[in-house]
Amino acid sequence: MDGIHVEVTGQRLGAAAALAFCDAPGHGAADLFVGRVRDLNQGRSVRGVSYDVHTALTRKIFAEICAEAHEQWGGGLHLWLSHRHGYLAVGEASVIAAASSPHRDESFCACRYLVEQMKQRAPIWKQEHYVDGDSEWMQGHALCGHG
């Protein structure tokens, strides 16, 4: 859809592309979120994270989330949502969400919405790999649809 870019990729995510997309002569504001792999989670030293992604469904759900943001904050917003799959070392970006709009409130709200909804609804799974050699799949949010 116009003004929406969603992506699942094995390549490094770049903020510059997201900010270039979330830009328009009538847009005075852009907000961008970067999620990165942390070195510590619940007291354990992390060396990296593997992201398992159902690519086709994730793309579809990302597009749905962005369409909802358009409905809520205006169809003129530019929206970007990209997630990486595969193994990421500490510090690498796993997700980038961005939004631009004429005024700032819509950008902040829409960007946050993309992030929160992505975490709840996208079929993506995080497996942490610890410095001690162990690995663990993270607990998560149950997907609706089997109720």
């Binding site: 999620g35 992201y51 398992d52 992604v53 159902h54 086709a56 469904l57 994730t58 579809k60 997630h83 796993s94 997700v95 992030v115 992505m118 975490k119 709840q120 609804r121 996208a122 079929p123 993506i124 799974w125 995080k126 497996q127 799949w137 993270m138 607990q139 998560g140 949010h141 149950a142 997907l143 609706c144 649809g145 089997h146 109720g147």
Partner: protein
């Protein structure tokens, strides 16, 4: 007549099978019936617990428990998600 479904695991479900798992149900069964049949094939208590909080889906959409099974015989099992 039985229909055979191939169910591909994702996330934590990969612990219980790297490749697709096969489940057989009567033609005309619902998604809920497939879920029950799937649970019966799992050896592990933890696997059955994980299945109970997982969604079944095609590559297009999550499946509704009360609905008939989809045309596609290729399904996926999606445990609770943890993206970002």
């Amino acid at each position: 007549m039985q229909r055979e479904f191939s169910i591909c695991p994702f996330g934590a479900f990969r612990r219980y099978g790297e490749g697709p798992m096969t489940v057989s149900v009567p033609a005309g069964a619902t998604v809920a019936e497939l879920r029950t049949a799937f649970a019966a094939t799992l050896q592990d208590d933890a696997a059955r617990k994980l299945l109970a909080c997982s969604a079944l889906a095609t590559d297009d959409a999550l499946l509704n428990e009360s609905e008939p099974l989809p045309e596609s015989a290729e399904l996926v099992v999606l445990p609770p998600v943890s993206g970002g």
